[in-house]
């Protein structure tokens, strides 16, 4: 049996060697949204138009991309191309596509998000990949509950406090469990914090712990203590674990749920006509009305043996009609500037979903520069993990707000120190 294993290993090795001569590249992606499934028709067309060159799609789980891919890249293994979400953290492995693609077109369409792919080097002009789709944090609101309580729904420009007050009244009047809820995610909290004036990271890439963050944490903790928000997510869970309880919204147990654009599909299929809902424009803080953007990118890696083919393929996907086709198929928010302005038609989505997508897309121009900067920061994940861990400790009275702020800064600086020892 051992022999058979070695044999099959050799055969596989030979197959890989043969494939290299025939110019083949592998693209790793997951199956959701702008992923393998949505790209498949475009890839098929590419393979037909380019005989002798093959692009192979490799569907993997999201966890493989987040946890296994970085370790593989570090050891020189892994696919030639992948759709990734840790844009800043993996920047040192990216293949610079400047000489293979129309750089001016990329700058025009993807200018703001291309910066996210440059990691710790803000001065760089490299084209490190193609941003795929954007995700936008946002609030889902149960309109039926508002109607039953007879309370007007806060409109665009309403603050977080307005929402908290309105939803508290609604919850009381309709006997709903909780007024508001938010995913346990540093990314979601960053939306809240930046609208309260937190900077999180400065121009030089150093963590910032300021009064804005203090106000945000204080308010957030207070809402957990007075029952505005349930303790199940930020209270009960510890560490850096990501957690959501969107079922609370689906079951009408909460009036206002702060999540993001990726649950639209679920809303459509599961809520159906049980109640009326809508996506609301970003609630405002004292500083701005911003939410966090997010999203993935299609990137090539330096270790590839076929950099020209990688460049050619990514350029092909980025062509307006191909890109638009994939966006429409995946029912996601485009990252390309012209499509954000002009809008996209989603033939497969319901009217309500189209409306919600439009609301999400409208938030993009309002996003604060701090939100963009934070999203492209190499140590964003270190900061987000520190935020979730420490805020949960404050809610459980293990830390004071002051101590938590100090810890957050310390956690990020330790991560930066460890990563940068000996230069990078």
């Amino acid at each position: 049996m051992k022999f058979a294993g070695i044999l099959s290993g050799t055969v596989f090795g030979l197959a890989v060697a043969a494939a290299a001569q025939a110019q083949e590249i592998t693209v790793q992606c997951d199956d959701l949204g702008f992923g393998c499934k949505a790209m498949a028709p475009v890839v098929e067309r590419f393979n037909q138009e380019n005989p002798g060159k093959t692009v192979r799609l490799e569907t993997v789980s999201y966890q493989t991309i987040v946890e296994a891919l970085p370790v593989q890249l570090e050891s020189g293994e892994g696919p030639d191309v992948a759709i990734i979400t840790d844009l800043g953290g993996l920047s040192r492995y990216y293949l610079d596509l400047t000489s293979y693609v129309d750089a001016a077109y990329f700058e025009k369409e993807f200018g703001r998000t291309l910066q996210w792919l440059r990691g710790s080097d803000p001065a760089s002009k490299a084209i490190n990949g193609m941003p795929t789709s954007l995700t936008v944090n946002g609030a889902y609101v149960n309109l039926t509950l508002f109607e039953q309580a007879g309370i007007p729904v806060p409109q665009e420009g309403a603050t977080w406090d307005d929402w908290a007050e309105a939803t508290r009244k609604v919850a009381e009047a309709t006997n709903t469990d909780f007024p508001m809820e938010m995913d346990r995610s540093g990314h979601r909290f960053a939306s809240f914090a930046i609208s309260h004036g937190a900077e999180l990271v400065d121009e030089q890439g150093n963590p910032v712990v300021d009064d804005g963050l203090r106000t945000a944490i204080e308010r957030f903790v207070e809402w957990h203590k007075n029952g505005t928000m349930p303790l199940d997510l930020w209270g009960a869970v510890g560490g850096a674990t990501h957690r959501e309880l969107f079922t609370d919204f689906l079951n009408a147990n909460v009036v206002f749920y702060f999540g993001g654009s990726w649950t639209l599909n679920q809303m459509d299929t599961e809520v159906g006509d049980l109640f009326e809902w809508a996506v609301m424009p970003a609630p405002c803080g004292p500083s701005s009305c911003t939410v966090m953007p997010g999203g993935g990118a299609l990137v090539g890696f330096k270790h590839t043996k076929n950099p020209e083919l990688v460049g050619e393929f990514i350029a092909y996907v980025a062509q307006p009609e191909n890109y638009k086709e994939i966006i429409a198929a995946s029912v996601e928010i485009p990252a390309a500037a012209s499509l954000i302005e002009g809008g996209v038609e989603y033939p497969s989505a319901s009217e309500r979903t189209q409306e919600a997508l439009a609301t999400f897309t409208n938030q993009i121009p309002k996003m604060a520069p701090a939100a963009y900067r934070f999203q492209g920061w190499r140590f964003q994940r270190a900061m987000m993990n520190a935020l979730t861990t420490r805020i949960s400790q404050v809610i459980n009275d293990e830390l004071t707000v002051d101590a938590a702020l100090e810890r957050i800064k310390q956690d990020v600086e330790l991560a930066m120190g460890a990563a940068q020892t000996g230069g990078n």
Binding site: A236, G239, R243, A382, T421
Partner: protein, 332 residues
């Protein structure tokens, strides 16, 4: 039926094949090396694998612990001396975790020190009681055994997701409580309740394994010993303390050591169930190591390795003591 016979025949031939090749080889080796060196021949395959995939990683970890950066290859990593250990051990007051530089490491250590004895006691107590029940002359023994063993077969992630689903605010347990007219309790929000359920769920998931081992131990106690006790009209409790327990001691020792070691290593179930929360009430040491070295970008291999070596030292001391006890017994 005939297909099954043929399959069995084919399997038998297949099984005989290595024997036909291996046996002459081993005969030859025995002639060549002499009987004195044969134990090493038996040991070498296992030892090689242990050296390569268990001890070598530990040495790499030692190397990681004195080097910095997030690079994977040891030689790419700059030497930082004891910096990682200093970061971990940097405390103003060792009795108060919040004065430490890495407060979560100390909280995790404290939680582990509380979790292990409680969980081991509960695990062995319940497993022993179950094994005794299953060893009795009752109907449907196979059925009961299967049921108690079933959770062992589930993957840790599935165990955790199932129980999270049961224990959450809108979960089955609260559904049950409401149905019988009680107030629902938000279990995982209360630190003490979360700790209790951490112990409960890990015992639920693993007790079947220890029950089986204890059951095997109980069954190896000769029946005539019990018959003799019955003649003397000894009470059940007396039979248990004077016969069952002493004769079960070697098995109990095995179970105890395995149980402690696995308890210290508890990770997957709790990571998914509570993530170490509420706050840091159920964070255990392996979760700290995992989050530091693997889950949180940028990965701090050095700090994680240092923490794992400190943990290793504690475990090593414990096991050496245990081994001493075990050795005294098996030769005595």
């Amino acid at each position: 039926m005939s297909a099954a016979t043929r399959l069995t025949g084919a399997l038998a031939t297949l099984a005989a094949l290595p024997a036909r090749v291996v046996e002459p080889l081993m005969h030859g080796l025995q002639k060549l090396l002499g009987i004195k060196r044969m134990p090493w021949v038996f040991l070498i395959p296992n030892l090689t694998a242990v050296l390569l995939f268990s001890l070598l990683p530990v040495f790499i970890n030692i190397f990681y612990s004195v080097t910095g950066s997030d690079r994977l290859f040891p030689l790419d990593r700059p030497y930082v001396g004891a910096a990682n250990y200093e970061t971990l051990l940097d405390c103003r007051d060792y009795l108060d975790p919040s004065t430490c530089s890495r407060d979560l490491f100390w909280r995790a250590l404290g939680n582990t020190l509380l979790f292990v004895p409680v969980q081991v006691a509960a695990m062995i107590g319940i497993a022993l009681l179950t094994a005794i029940c299953l060893n009795r002359d009752i109907r449907g023994r196979g059925f009961f055994r299967g049921i108690f063993f079933f959770p062992v077969m589930l993957s840790p992630v599935v165990v955790a997701l199932t129980w999270q689903w049961i224990l959450q605010r809108n979960g089955a347990l609260n559904g049950l409580l409401t149905a019988i007219g009680l107030e629902p309790i938000n279990w995982l929000v209360l630190p003490d309740a979360a700790f209790f359920w951490s112990v409960f769920v890990t015992v639920w998931a693993h007790m079947g394994f220890f029950t089986i081992i204890l059951l095997a131990g109980l069954q190896s106690i000769p029946r005539d010993v019990y018959e003799a006790a019955k003649m003397d009209a000894a009470s059940p409790w007396r039979v248990f303390t004077r016969i069952t327990l002493p004769m079960l001691k070697p098995t109990l020792l095995v179970v105890f050591i395995l149980c402690v070691i696995r308890s210290v290593q508890t990770f997957d179930e709790l990571y998914v169930l509570t993530g170490g929360g509420p706050g840091s009430a159920t964070i255990l040491i392996v979760q700290f190591i995992y989050e530091t070295g693997f889950a949180i970008q940028p990965r701090n291999f050095g700090l994680a390795a240092a923490a794992s070596l400190l943990l290793g030292m504690v475990l090593l001391i414990f096991t050496l003591v245990q081994l001493r006890v075990a050795r005294g017994r098996s030769y005595g």
